[in-house]
């Protein structure tokens, strides 16, 4: 679904990304791991078209793409319903979602699955708490039923019940054949749900394990956990 090849991105003298290549597969959850400043967010932004790579290429298979940033920001003059209405206009603009259900009912169903209080939709998302802002970003991205969902720090700012809901949603997407790419520092959570890993260090891909490699690694008698693998790979 996403294929990145030798991505390079500089900001002035700083080389944020210098050689990142990876591939995600349909119907899987891939976790992008790395220390602070490893280039994860820059890589995601290049994949999503917010930044242009200085060299290298990235391609995404055709289909709907959802994106939940680490700290979502919304236009401060629009209320929740208006923002969701924009997403609706983007998908088909006829007031009904892909399955022909009523838009309002679809919003309420998605809000329930995220433990998001629908009453908040009458307020401006700019006034939401960090956790509700994150859940609202999920709501906005999930409504058009994306084929690929990219999430930067999927569980940041969320309370434990919401983390469980989001985990269930991500696994549900994977089980229904959608592709999910996550960037996170929460190794235990990633180990729990991801099928493959991309590890970045100082702007470079230093490891790329698919489902098969990871299963092999886990099945080994001395099967290490993701945290020890990560610490060893990054030399931390």
């Amino acid at each position: 679904m996403i294929e990145a090849h030798k991505l390079v991105k500089r900001f002035g003298r700083v080389e944020a990304v210098r050689d990142v290549s990876f591939k995600t597969r349909k119907g899987t959850i891939t976790a992008m791991l790395g220390e602070n400043g490893a280039g994860k967010t820059t890589t995601l932004k290049m994949a999503l078209g917010f930044l242009r790579p200085d060299s290298g290429s990235v391609s995404i298979a055709p289909g709907r793409v959802g994106y939940v940033p680490d700290r979502p920001v919304f236009f401060p003059w629009l209320d929740g319903w208006a923002v969701l209405g924009l997403a609706r206009a983007r998908s088909n603009g006829n007031g009904r979602d892909g399955n022909g259900r009523d838009f309002g009912a679809a919003v309420l169903a998605s809000a329930r699955s995220l433990l998001f209080d629908p009453a908040l939709l009458r307020r401006r998302p700019a006034t939401y708490s960090a956790g509700n802002g994150k859940k609202f970003a999920y709501l906005q991205s999930l409504l058009p039923e994306p084929d690929l969902l990219v999430v930067d720090e999927p569980f940041s700012a969320l309370d434990p019940p919401s983390i469980k809901c989001v985990r269930d949603i991500l696994c549900g997407l994977r089980d229904s054949g959608k592709t999910v790419l996550l960037s996170s520092h929460m190794l235990a959570e990633m180990e729990r749900i991801a099928d493959g890993f991309v590890v970045l260090r100082r702007g470079q891909t230093i490891a790329h394990a698919g489902l098969r490699e990871w299963r092999l690694l886990r099945s080994a008698r001395t099967g290490p956990d993701l945290e020890s693998v990560f610490l060893r790979l990054t030399g931390s």
Partner: protein, 244 residues
């Protein structure tokens, strides 16, 4: 040709932004109130002079918020603007702002023309003046949009207003007993290239003066500058990235 879905999205966002902007609402209401007050306290002819001269500023107010504030706010890093769609959104925003200002101006002009027809003061040259005011307004939108790549919302308009104030003050202070720029502009005849160039620079800052209809060369200059500003903005938008 902009994507119709993107235009619809931009229209929804920009319309609400304009309506929620106190400056846009106050300026939009004060302008016709001022013109009506002039017409009632003096004459329709006086009101007409101010109406056509100030009309381009309706466009300037509508163009107060275009690029940098949106980019810096982080609101463009949203699922709505994936795949570089934010560039199309920002480009369409200028079109929407210009369209909204043109629509509002046309409504005001229709009311003003009706008043003029009733008062017997409306002439066919008013149509030409309205057209020139719209051209000057579109130039404002392009120029303010260009400035908004480096200045935050409102600052782009403020810079233009300050430059206009400074140029008017400079013009007043440099006015002498001899025939000068204002006299040339009043007659539409300039003695030489130097005077034309100086006045051309002044027109680039205050394009409202072309609404008189006597300054065809300078109206052409504004059209050329409008094209240049649009070209420059398209180039800047192509290179734009969301780095926040």
């Amino acid at each position: 040709m902009p994507d119709p879905a993107l235009l619809a999205l931009t229209w929804r966002v920009t319309r609400r932004r304009l309506v929620s902007s106190p400056l846009a609402v106050v300026a939009g209401l004060l302008f016709p109130a001022f013109v009506v007050w002039l017409g009632l306290s003096d004459s329709y002819a006086t009101a007409a002079k101010f109406f056509f001269f100030l009309l381009p500023h309706v466009f300037l107010v509508a163009a107060q918020d275009t690029v940098r504030s949106d980019v810096e706010s982080g609101a463009l890093e949203n699922v709505l603007f994936l795949g570089g769609r934010y560039r199309g959104y920002l480009g369409a925003k200028s079109l929407i702002a210009a369209g909204a200002a043109a629509g509002y101006s046309a409504a005001l002009f229709a009311l003003f023309a009706a008043w003029g027809l009733a008062a017997g003061g409306f002439g066919p040259d008013s149509l030409l003046k309205f057209g020139l005011a719209v051209v000057a307004g579109l130039y404002y939108v392009a120029l303010a949009g260009l400035l908004s790549h480096s200045l935050r919302a409102g600052s782009n308009v403020l810079v233009l207003l300050l430059a206009q104030s400074a140029s008017i003050i400079a013009l007043v202070f440099t006015t002498t007993a001899r025939t000068g720029l204002l006299d040339y502009a009043a007659t539409g005849r300039f003695p030489g290239l130097g005077a034309r160039l100086v006045f051309g620079a002044w027109v680039a800052i205050l394009p409202n003066v072309i609404v008189s209809g006597r300054l065809a060369w300078f109206a052409a200059e504004i059209v050329a500058l409008l094209g240049l500003a649009v070209f420059a903005q398209v180039r800047l938008l192509r290179r734009l990235e969301i780095r926040k």
